[in-house]
């Protein structure tokens, strides 16, 4: 005998069930959005770590540089030194628009930290304006080498590992 009132109580989908289902769908979508946001944030800070030779690593930084990004550079570079035994790290900042005191401090701090790990950091692409700012800010660059051009930095880097970079 069929029930004319509709589906049995067991099979009936209530409004509450629908709301629950909707909530879980919204929760799943929220999770996906958060995951995407994390990926976008991570991509923003992604930096190419270019291995120039067995012991030389180059990190070209382009675009805006803030303290969060410079912190990320420091963490990635130090981890690379630990993992790969990198002897010289060349950080080229010629493509960076503005280097404020906080960013400069992070870069210089990275130089000091990498030295403690037995590696040398060379920062290239220091513009006259940046040099002037760093001096005015009284930032101690004693643990870090700096050059104006990437070419000079690479020459120094090769010298550090007992090799010489010559013009073809």
């Amino acid at each position: 005998m069929s029930d004319e009132r509709g589906p049995s109580a067991q099979g009936r989908i209530t409004d509450r069930d629908l709301l629950k289902q909707r909530d879980s769908e919204i929760e799943a979508q929220r999770g996906q959005i958060e995951s995407l946001q994390h990926s976008i944030e991570a991509a923003k800070f992604e930096l190419p770590l270019l291995r120039i030779s067995t012991h030389i690593l180059m990190v070209p930084i382009v675009g805006a540089m803030d303290s969060l990004r410079s912190q990320r550079v420091m963490e990635d570079v130090l981890e690379n030194i630990r993992r790969a035994g990198t002897k010289v790290v060349v950080i080229d900042i010629s493509g960076v628009n503005v280097v404020d005191s906080s960013v400069a401090s992070h870069l210089i701090m990275m130089g000091a930290a990498s030295k403690l790990m037995g590696s040398t950091t060379i920062i290239s692409g220091i513009s006259p304006g940046m040099a002037s700012n760093i001096v005015k800010l009284g930032i101690d660059t004693g643990q870090t080498e700096t050059t104006n051009t990437v070419e000079d930095a690479l020459k120094r880097a090769y010298n550090h590992v007992g090799k010489k970079l010559v013009d073809a």
Binding site: L78, G85, M109, A113, L116, G118
Partner: protein
């Protein structure tokens, strides 16, 4: 007191630094005496087991190295992990102190001297 974390590799001493040892009275002198007795020319202070150091602990380690230098034992530090390196940046480090990534590199450097 016996400095148990001391080993001899390639004719050079390697001390696996244990921070709590540094606090014991007489540890430094005992270490100095043992190294002089062993007749080693160099010592690696390995921090590979150390995850964090206070300012005073770092100063104790660098002082240990300076004392060894006074005894004619060239000493270097090795095995500083990334997070420890970032912390140590804020502490004073003697300009003459050499630091290396690992024990092998430190031993190579000492052997070359």
């Amino acid at each position: 007191m016996v400095v148990s974390e001391l080993s001899i590799l390639r004719g050079l001493a390697v001390l696996d630094v244990n921070v709590s040892d540094l606090e014991h009275t007489g540890f430094t002198q005992e270490l100095y005496a043992q190294l002089v007795g062993l007749g080693v020319s160099g010592c690696v202070l390995s921090l590979s087991s150390v995850t964090g150091l206070s300012r005073s602990e770092w100063i104790a380690i660098t002082s240990l190295a300076q004392g060894l230098e006074l005894l004619g034992i060239k000493s270097v530090v090795s095995g500083i992990a990334p997070t420890l390196a970032v912390a140590l940046v804020w502490y004073p480090t003697p300009s003459g102190l050499s630091t290396y990534l690992n024990e092998d590199e430190a031993l190579d450097a000492l052997a070359d001297q």
